[in-house]
Amino acid sequence: MNDSGILVLRFFQFLFVPIFLCSPLVMVLSLLTWRKEPTNRELLSAKIRTLSLATLFCLAVWLSVLMVGLVTRSSLLQLISTMAWLLFFPLWFGIAMPISKLLFTDLQPAVPPEQQKRTASLGNRQRKNPIQWWHWGLSSTVCTGFLIATLWIGRNIDQSTWTPQQGFLWFWGILGYPPLVVFTYAVLYFGVRASLAEPEPLDSEGNVELQKLYDDARSNRALSMFWLLGFLQPVFFGACLFLSTWIHSNYLIGILGATGGTLLGLAGSWAGVNATLQRLKIARFKMQLESSPSQ
Protein backbone atom coordinates (compact mmCIF):
# COMPACT_ATOMS: atom_id res chain seq x y z
CA MET A 1 0.00 0.00 0.00
CA ASN A 2 1.34 3.46 -0.87
CA ASP A 3 1.87 6.34 1.60
CA SER A 4 -1.36 8.15 0.74
CA GLY A 5 -3.32 4.92 1.30
CA ILE A 6 -1.78 4.47 4.75
CA LEU A 7 -2.52 8.12 5.51
CA VAL A 8 -6.19 7.64 4.60
CA LEU A 9 -6.32 4.49 6.73
CA ARG A 10 -4.78 6.29 9.73
CA PHE A 11 -7.21 9.16 9.26
CA PHE A 12 -10.16 6.73 9.30
CA GLN A 13 -8.78 4.97 12.37
CA PHE A 14 -8.32 8.30 14.12
CA LEU A 15 -11.83 9.54 13.34
CA PHE A 16 -13.61 6.27 14.11
CA VAL A 17 -13.48 6.54 17.93
CA PRO A 18 -14.55 10.21 18.38
CA ILE A 19 -17.36 9.83 15.83
CA PHE A 20 -18.63 6.78 17.67
CA LEU A 21 -18.37 8.47 21.07
CA CYS A 22 -20.17 11.63 19.90
CA SER A 23 -22.97 9.76 18.11
CA PRO A 24 -25.27 9.30 21.19
CA LEU A 25 -25.16 13.05 21.88
CA VAL A 26 -25.70 13.89 18.20
CA MET A 27 -28.65 11.48 18.05
CA VAL A 28 -30.26 12.96 21.17
CA LEU A 29 -29.79 16.54 19.91
CA SER A 30 -31.30 15.65 16.54
CA LEU A 31 -34.31 14.06 18.29
CA LEU A 32 -34.62 17.20 20.38
CA THR A 33 -34.94 19.39 17.26
CA TRP A 34 -37.64 17.04 16.00
CA ARG A 35 -39.58 17.15 19.29
CA LYS A 36 -40.27 20.85 19.86
CA GLU A 37 -42.33 20.64 23.05
CA PRO A 38 -40.96 17.91 25.29
CA THR A 39 -42.51 17.13 28.63
CA ASN A 40 -40.27 16.94 31.76
CA ARG A 41 -38.15 19.82 30.43
CA GLU A 42 -36.02 20.18 33.58
CA LEU A 43 -35.22 16.49 33.92
CA LEU A 44 -34.45 16.40 30.22
CA SER A 45 -31.98 19.34 30.43
CA ALA A 46 -30.23 17.71 33.40
CA LYS A 47 -29.87 14.42 31.54
CA ILE A 48 -28.58 16.11 28.37
CA ARG A 49 -26.02 17.98 30.49
CA THR A 50 -24.95 14.63 31.99
CA LEU A 51 -24.65 13.11 28.51
CA SER A 52 -22.56 16.06 27.27
CA LEU A 53 -20.21 15.84 30.25
CA ALA A 54 -19.94 12.05 29.96
CA THR A 55 -19.16 12.37 26.23
CA LEU A 56 -16.46 14.95 26.96
CA PHE A 57 -15.03 12.70 29.66
CA CYS A 58 -14.89 9.69 27.30
CA LEU A 59 -13.25 11.79 24.58
CA ALA A 60 -10.69 13.05 27.13
CA VAL A 61 -9.94 9.48 28.24
CA TRP A 62 -9.48 8.36 24.63
CA LEU A 63 -7.29 11.33 23.71
CA SER A 64 -5.13 11.00 26.86
CA VAL A 65 -4.49 7.29 26.27
CA LEU A 66 -3.72 7.96 22.59
CA MET A 67 -1.32 10.84 23.37
CA VAL A 68 0.50 8.91 26.10
CA GLY A 69 0.71 5.92 23.73
CA LEU A 70 2.18 8.08 20.96
CA VAL A 71 4.65 9.88 23.25
CA THR A 72 5.85 6.71 24.96
CA ARG A 73 5.58 4.71 21.68
CA SER A 74 3.54 2.11 23.56
CA SER A 75 1.68 -0.08 21.07
CA LEU A 76 -0.46 -1.47 23.90
CA LEU A 77 -1.75 2.00 24.84
CA GLN A 78 -2.35 2.81 21.18
CA LEU A 79 -4.35 -0.40 20.85
CA ILE A 80 -6.33 0.47 24.00
CA SER A 81 -7.08 3.91 22.54
CA THR A 82 -8.58 2.31 19.40
CA MET A 83 -10.80 0.17 21.64
CA ALA A 84 -12.17 3.29 23.37
CA TRP A 85 -15.17 3.10 21.00
CA LEU A 86 -16.57 0.54 23.45
CA LEU A 87 -17.39 3.49 25.73
CA PHE A 88 -20.21 4.13 23.25
CA PHE A 89 -22.33 1.44 24.96
CA PRO A 90 -22.58 2.99 28.44
CA LEU A 91 -23.19 6.40 26.81
CA TRP A 92 -25.94 5.03 24.58
CA PHE A 93 -27.69 2.54 26.85
CA GLY A 94 -27.00 4.36 30.12
CA ILE A 95 -27.91 7.93 29.21
CA ALA A 96 -29.04 8.47 25.59
CA MET A 97 -31.74 5.77 25.55
CA PRO A 98 -33.45 7.01 28.76
CA ILE A 99 -33.40 10.53 27.25
CA SER A 100 -35.10 9.33 24.06
CA LYS A 101 -37.73 7.59 26.22
CA LEU A 102 -38.30 10.87 28.09
CA LEU A 103 -38.71 12.64 24.75
CA PHE A 104 -41.35 10.19 23.53
CA THR A 105 -43.46 9.45 26.59
CA ASP A 106 -46.52 9.02 24.36
CA LEU A 107 -44.93 6.12 22.49
CA GLN A 108 -46.84 3.32 24.20
CA PRO A 109 -47.23 -0.30 23.18
CA ALA A 110 -49.94 -0.85 20.55
CA VAL A 111 -52.22 -2.33 23.21
CA PRO A 112 -51.47 -0.59 26.55
CA PRO A 113 -51.84 -3.15 29.38
CA GLU A 114 -53.96 -0.75 31.45
CA GLN A 115 -56.51 -0.25 28.65
CA GLN A 116 -59.66 -2.06 29.76
CA LYS A 117 -61.76 -1.77 26.61
CA ARG A 118 -60.16 -3.27 23.50
CA THR A 119 -61.29 -3.35 19.91
CA ALA A 120 -60.15 -5.30 16.90
CA SER A 121 -61.26 -5.97 13.38
CA LEU A 122 -62.78 -9.36 12.73
CA GLY A 123 -62.22 -9.03 9.02
CA ASN A 124 -59.09 -10.85 7.94
CA ARG A 125 -57.12 -7.90 6.64
CA GLN A 126 -54.68 -10.23 4.86
CA ARG A 127 -51.34 -9.04 6.13
CA LYS A 128 -49.64 -9.97 2.90
CA ASN A 129 -45.90 -10.35 2.83
CA PRO A 130 -44.59 -7.61 0.49
CA ILE A 131 -41.41 -9.61 -0.17
CA GLN A 132 -41.97 -11.32 -3.52
CA TRP A 133 -40.14 -14.28 -5.03
CA TRP A 134 -38.09 -11.95 -7.23
CA HIS A 135 -36.64 -10.23 -4.13
CA TRP A 136 -35.21 -13.55 -2.95
CA GLY A 137 -34.20 -14.41 -6.50
CA LEU A 138 -32.31 -11.15 -6.95
CA SER A 139 -30.43 -11.50 -3.68
CA SER A 140 -29.52 -15.16 -4.13
CA THR A 141 -28.42 -14.56 -7.75
CA VAL A 142 -26.07 -11.72 -6.78
CA CYS A 143 -24.69 -13.75 -3.85
CA THR A 144 -24.18 -16.81 -6.08
CA GLY A 145 -22.48 -14.55 -8.63
CA PHE A 146 -19.98 -13.32 -6.04
CA LEU A 147 -19.37 -16.89 -4.85
CA ILE A 148 -18.74 -18.19 -8.37
CA ALA A 149 -16.52 -15.19 -9.21
CA THR A 150 -14.48 -15.70 -6.02
CA LEU A 151 -14.13 -19.41 -6.73
CA TRP A 152 -13.16 -18.77 -10.36
CA ILE A 153 -10.57 -16.10 -9.52
CA GLY A 154 -9.09 -18.23 -6.75
CA ARG A 155 -8.79 -21.25 -9.07
CA ASN A 156 -7.32 -19.31 -11.98
CA ILE A 157 -4.89 -17.11 -10.08
CA ASP A 158 -1.32 -18.12 -9.47
CA GLN A 159 -1.74 -19.31 -5.90
CA SER A 160 2.01 -19.65 -5.42
CA THR A 161 2.10 -15.85 -4.92
CA TRP A 162 -0.36 -16.18 -2.03
CA THR A 163 0.63 -16.23 1.60
CA PRO A 164 -0.73 -19.24 3.57
CA GLN A 165 -3.11 -16.81 5.28
CA GLN A 166 -4.60 -15.71 1.95
CA GLY A 167 -5.16 -19.32 0.86
CA PHE A 168 -6.74 -20.10 4.21
CA LEU A 169 -9.08 -17.09 3.98
CA TRP A 170 -10.11 -17.94 0.41
CA PHE A 171 -10.85 -21.60 1.23
CA TRP A 172 -12.82 -20.93 4.42
CA GLY A 173 -14.51 -17.92 2.86
CA ILE A 174 -15.84 -20.08 0.02
CA LEU A 175 -16.98 -22.73 2.50
CA GLY A 176 -18.45 -20.34 5.06
CA TYR A 177 -20.26 -17.88 2.78
CA PRO A 178 -23.22 -20.08 1.62
CA PRO A 179 -24.21 -21.18 5.17
CA LEU A 180 -23.91 -17.55 6.29
CA VAL A 181 -26.31 -16.43 3.54
CA VAL A 182 -28.75 -19.26 4.32
CA PHE A 183 -28.62 -18.39 8.02
CA THR A 184 -29.27 -14.70 7.21
CA TYR A 185 -32.26 -15.67 5.04
CA ALA A 186 -33.63 -17.85 7.86
CA VAL A 187 -33.29 -15.02 10.40
CA LEU A 188 -34.97 -12.67 7.93
CA TYR A 189 -37.82 -15.10 7.22
CA PHE A 190 -38.72 -15.44 10.90
CA GLY A 191 -38.11 -11.73 11.55
CA VAL A 192 -40.51 -10.71 8.79
CA ARG A 193 -43.10 -13.22 9.98
CA ALA A 194 -42.96 -11.74 13.48
CA SER A 195 -43.12 -8.23 12.06
CA LEU A 196 -46.24 -9.04 10.02
CA ALA A 197 -47.98 -10.30 13.17
CA GLU A 198 -47.33 -7.07 15.09
CA PRO A 199 -50.52 -5.86 16.88
CA GLU A 200 -52.67 -3.52 14.79
CA PRO A 201 -55.65 -2.65 17.00
CA LEU A 202 -58.25 -0.53 15.22
CA ASP A 203 -60.57 2.09 16.62
CA SER A 204 -64.19 1.10 17.32
CA GLU A 205 -65.33 2.33 13.87
CA GLY A 206 -62.60 0.52 11.91
CA ASN A 207 -61.25 3.74 10.35
CA VAL A 208 -60.02 3.14 6.79
CA GLU A 209 -57.18 5.68 7.05
CA LEU A 210 -55.88 3.97 10.19
CA GLN A 211 -55.95 0.62 8.37
CA LYS A 212 -53.97 2.18 5.50
CA LEU A 213 -51.40 3.60 7.92
CA TYR A 214 -50.97 0.12 9.41
CA ASP A 215 -50.66 -1.42 5.93
CA ASP A 216 -48.00 1.10 4.86
CA ALA A 217 -46.00 0.79 8.08
CA ARG A 218 -46.09 -3.02 7.93
CA SER A 219 -45.02 -3.09 4.31
CA ASN A 220 -42.19 -0.56 4.86
CA ARG A 221 -40.95 -2.50 7.86
CA ALA A 222 -40.81 -5.82 6.00
CA LEU A 223 -39.19 -4.33 2.90
CA SER A 224 -36.57 -2.42 4.94
CA MET A 225 -35.74 -5.67 6.71
CA PHE A 226 -35.36 -7.44 3.39
CA TRP A 227 -33.16 -4.81 1.73
CA LEU A 228 -30.92 -4.59 4.78
CA LEU A 229 -30.69 -8.19 5.96
CA GLY A 230 -31.68 -10.08 2.84
CA PHE A 231 -29.85 -8.06 0.22
CA LEU A 232 -27.29 -5.48 1.36
CA GLN A 233 -25.72 -7.58 4.11
CA PRO A 234 -25.13 -10.85 2.19
CA VAL A 235 -24.13 -8.95 -0.96
CA PHE A 236 -21.71 -6.85 1.09
CA PHE A 237 -20.11 -9.98 2.57
CA GLY A 238 -19.95 -11.53 -0.92
CA ALA A 239 -18.30 -8.39 -2.31
CA CYS A 240 -15.75 -8.38 0.53
CA LEU A 241 -14.95 -12.06 -0.12
CA PHE A 242 -14.54 -11.40 -3.82
CA LEU A 243 -12.39 -8.29 -3.34
CA SER A 244 -10.16 -9.97 -0.77
CA THR A 245 -9.42 -12.67 -3.35
CA TRP A 246 -9.02 -10.28 -6.26
CA ILE A 247 -7.08 -7.42 -4.61
CA HIS A 248 -4.33 -8.46 -2.23
CA SER A 249 -4.46 -5.40 -0.04
CA ASN A 250 -5.51 -5.94 3.55
CA TYR A 251 -5.49 -2.17 4.12
CA LEU A 252 -7.88 -1.47 1.27
CA ILE A 253 -10.18 -4.33 2.26
CA GLY A 254 -10.09 -3.05 5.84
CA ILE A 255 -11.16 0.44 4.78
CA LEU A 256 -13.86 -0.90 2.47
CA GLY A 257 -15.10 -3.27 5.17
CA ALA A 258 -15.18 -0.55 7.83
CA THR A 259 -16.91 1.93 5.50
CA GLY A 260 -19.44 -0.63 4.25
CA GLY A 261 -20.12 -1.87 7.77
CA THR A 262 -20.66 1.67 9.03
CA LEU A 263 -23.01 2.45 6.13
CA LEU A 264 -24.97 -0.75 6.79
CA GLY A 265 -25.21 0.16 10.47
CA LEU A 266 -26.40 3.68 9.62
CA ALA A 267 -28.98 2.30 7.18
CA GLY A 268 -30.19 -0.09 9.91
CA SER A 269 -30.50 2.76 12.41
CA TRP A 270 -32.39 4.84 9.86
CA ALA A 271 -34.82 1.97 9.22
CA GLY A 272 -35.31 1.47 12.98
CA VAL A 273 -35.92 5.16 13.66
CA ASN A 274 -38.26 5.37 10.67
CA ALA A 275 -40.31 2.39 11.93
CA THR A 276 -40.53 3.98 15.39
CA LEU A 277 -41.70 7.30 13.93
CA GLN A 278 -44.38 5.49 11.91
CA ARG A 279 -45.58 3.71 15.06
CA LEU A 280 -45.69 7.06 16.84
CA LYS A 281 -47.71 8.61 14.00
CA ILE A 282 -50.19 5.70 14.12
CA ALA A 283 -50.48 5.88 17.93
CA ARG A 284 -51.24 9.61 17.74
CA PHE A 285 -53.78 9.17 14.96
CA LYS A 286 -55.53 6.39 16.88
CA MET A 287 -55.59 8.55 20.01
CA GLN A 288 -57.15 11.38 17.97
CA LEU A 289 -59.82 9.04 16.58
CA GLU A 290 -60.68 7.70 20.01
CA SER A 291 -61.01 11.15 21.51
CA SER A 292 -63.12 12.53 18.64
CA PRO A 293 -66.83 13.04 19.48
CA SER A 294 -68.10 10.59 16.81
CA GLN A 295 -66.42 7.66 18.57
Binding site: Q115, R118, T119, L122, G123, P199, L202, E205
Partner: protein
Protein backbone atom coordinates in the same frame (compact mmCIF):
# COMPACT_ATOMS: atom_id res chain seq x y z
CA UNK B 1 -65.40 -4.60 14.77
CA UNK B 2 -65.50 -6.43 18.04
CA UNK B 3 -65.05 -4.94 21.46
CA UNK B 4 -64.17 -6.72 24.67
CA UNK B 5 -63.86 -5.37 28.17
CA UNK B 6 -61.23 -6.60 30.60
CA UNK B 7 -63.14 -5.42 33.64
CA UNK B 8 -66.38 -7.16 32.68
CA UNK B 9 -67.45 -10.08 34.90
CA UNK B 10 -68.09 -12.12 31.72
CA UNK B 11 -65.06 -14.29 30.84
CA UNK B 12 -63.07 -13.03 27.86
CA UNK B 13 -63.67 -16.06 25.66
CA UNK B 14 -67.44 -15.77 26.29
CA UNK B 15 -67.30 -12.08 25.32
CA UNK B 16 -65.52 -13.06 22.12
CA UNK B 17 -68.07 -15.77 21.36
CA UNK B 18 -70.94 -13.29 21.95
CA UNK B 19 -69.33 -10.66 19.73
CA UNK B 20 -68.76 -13.09 16.87
CA UNK B 21 -72.32 -14.45 17.19
CA UNK B 22 -73.60 -10.84 17.08
CA UNK B 23 -71.71 -10.18 13.84
CA UNK B 24 -73.04 -13.44 12.38
CA UNK B 25 -76.59 -12.57 13.34
CA UNK B 26 -76.58 -9.00 12.00
CA UNK B 27 -75.05 -10.13 8.70
CA UNK B 28 -71.65 -8.41 9.09
CA UNK B 29 -70.05 -11.84 8.80
CA UNK B 30 -71.30 -13.96 5.93
CA UNK B 31 -70.78 -17.59 4.95
CA UNK B 32 -67.28 -17.99 3.49
CA UNK B 33 -65.79 -14.90 5.20
CA UNK B 34 -62.28 -15.45 6.54
CA UNK B 35 -61.62 -14.60 10.16
CA UNK B 36 -58.20 -13.33 11.29
CA UNK B 37 -55.75 -15.99 12.48
CA UNK B 38 -55.85 -16.74 16.22
CA UNK B 39 -52.43 -15.16 16.80
CA UNK B 40 -53.33 -11.97 14.95
CA UNK B 41 -56.61 -11.42 16.79
CA UNK B 42 -54.96 -12.21 20.14
CA UNK B 43 -52.18 -9.69 19.39
CA UNK B 44 -54.63 -7.00 18.30
CA UNK B 45 -56.73 -7.42 21.44
CA UNK B 46 -53.68 -7.90 23.67
CA UNK B 47 -55.05 -11.14 25.12
CA UNK B 48 -53.85 -14.73 25.35
CA UNK B 49 -53.78 -16.94 22.26
CA UNK B 50 -55.64 -19.70 24.08
CA UNK B 51 -58.57 -17.39 24.84
CA UNK B 52 -59.12 -16.70 21.14
CA UNK B 53 -58.48 -20.34 20.23
CA UNK B 54 -61.08 -21.44 22.78
CA UNK B 55 -63.68 -19.02 21.41
CA UNK B 56 -63.02 -20.17 17.83
CA UNK B 57 -63.25 -23.80 18.98
CA UNK B 58 -66.60 -23.26 20.69
CA UNK B 59 -68.01 -21.63 17.56
CA UNK B 60 -66.56 -24.41 15.42
CA UNK B 61 -68.26 -26.99 17.65
CA UNK B 62 -71.56 -25.14 17.13
CA UNK B 63 -71.08 -25.48 13.36
CA UNK B 64 -70.71 -21.72 12.82
CA UNK B 65 -67.01 -21.69 11.94
CA UNK B 66 -64.68 -24.14 10.24
CA UNK B 67 -60.94 -24.28 10.48
CA UNK B 68 -58.93 -25.79 7.67
CA UNK B 69 -55.26 -25.92 6.83
CA UNK B 70 -54.28 -23.26 4.33
CA UNK B 71 -57.54 -21.31 4.52
CA UNK B 72 -57.55 -20.56 8.24
CA UNK B 73 -60.86 -20.01 10.00
CA UNK B 74 -63.92 -19.28 7.87
CA UNK B 75 -67.62 -18.77 8.50
CA UNK B 76 -69.28 -22.09 7.73
CA UNK B 77 -72.86 -21.20 8.54
CA UNK B 78 -74.91 -18.46 10.15
CA UNK B 79 -77.35 -21.03 11.58
CA UNK B 80 -76.18 -22.91 14.61
CA UNK B 81 -75.97 -26.71 14.53
CA UNK B 82 -77.81 -27.78 17.64
CA UNK B 83 -78.42 -31.06 19.37
CA UNK B 84 -81.53 -29.71 21.10
CA UNK B 85 -85.06 -30.39 19.78
CA UNK B 86 -86.70 -27.28 18.22
CA UNK B 87 -89.24 -27.05 21.06
CA UNK B 88 -86.48 -27.16 23.70
CA UNK B 89 -84.47 -24.57 21.81
CA UNK B 90 -87.46 -22.21 21.61
CA UNK B 91 -88.03 -22.68 25.35
CA UNK B 92 -84.36 -21.82 26.08
CA UNK B 93 -84.52 -18.68 23.93
CA UNK B 94 -87.83 -17.64 25.51
CA UNK B 95 -86.27 -17.98 28.97
CA UNK B 96 -83.30 -15.80 27.97
CA UNK B 97 -85.60 -13.22 26.38
CA UNK B 98 -87.92 -13.12 29.37
CA UNK B 99 -84.94 -12.64 31.69
CA UNK B 100 -83.66 -9.71 29.50
CA UNK B 101 -87.12 -8.10 29.46
CA UNK B 102 -87.48 -8.53 33.23
CA UNK B 103 -84.06 -6.81 33.62
CA UNK B 104 -85.29 -3.93 31.48
CA UNK B 105 -88.49 -3.54 33.54
CA UNK B 106 -86.58 -3.65 36.83
CA UNK B 107 -84.16 -1.04 35.43
CA UNK B 108 -87.17 1.30 35.24
CA UNK B 109 -87.93 1.27 31.52
CA UNK B 110 -91.60 1.53 30.54
CA UNK B 111 -93.37 -0.67 27.99
CA UNK B 112 -92.97 1.87 25.16
CA UNK B 113 -89.21 2.18 25.76
CA UNK B 114 -88.77 -1.58 25.87
CA UNK B 115 -90.78 -1.98 22.67
CA UNK B 116 -88.49 0.57 20.97
CA UNK B 117 -85.40 -1.28 22.18
CA UNK B 118 -86.72 -4.61 20.93
CA UNK B 119 -87.76 -3.07 17.61
CA UNK B 120 -84.30 -1.55 17.15
CA UNK B 121 -82.66 -4.94 17.70
CA UNK B 122 -85.13 -6.66 15.35
CA UNK B 123 -84.41 -4.05 12.68
CA UNK B 124 -80.68 -4.57 13.13
CA UNK B 125 -80.96 -8.31 12.56
CA UNK B 126 -83.71 -8.51 9.92
CA UNK B 127 -83.74 -5.01 8.49
CA UNK B 128 -86.52 -2.43 8.72
CA UNK B 129 -89.91 -4.02 7.94
Amino acid sequence: MITISLNSPIPLHDQLVQEIRRLLADGTLKVGDELPPVRQLANDLGINLNTVARAYRELTDCGLLATSRGRGTVVLSTIEKTTEKPAEEKKRIETTLSSALADAKIAGLNRKEIELLVLRQLNKLWGVS
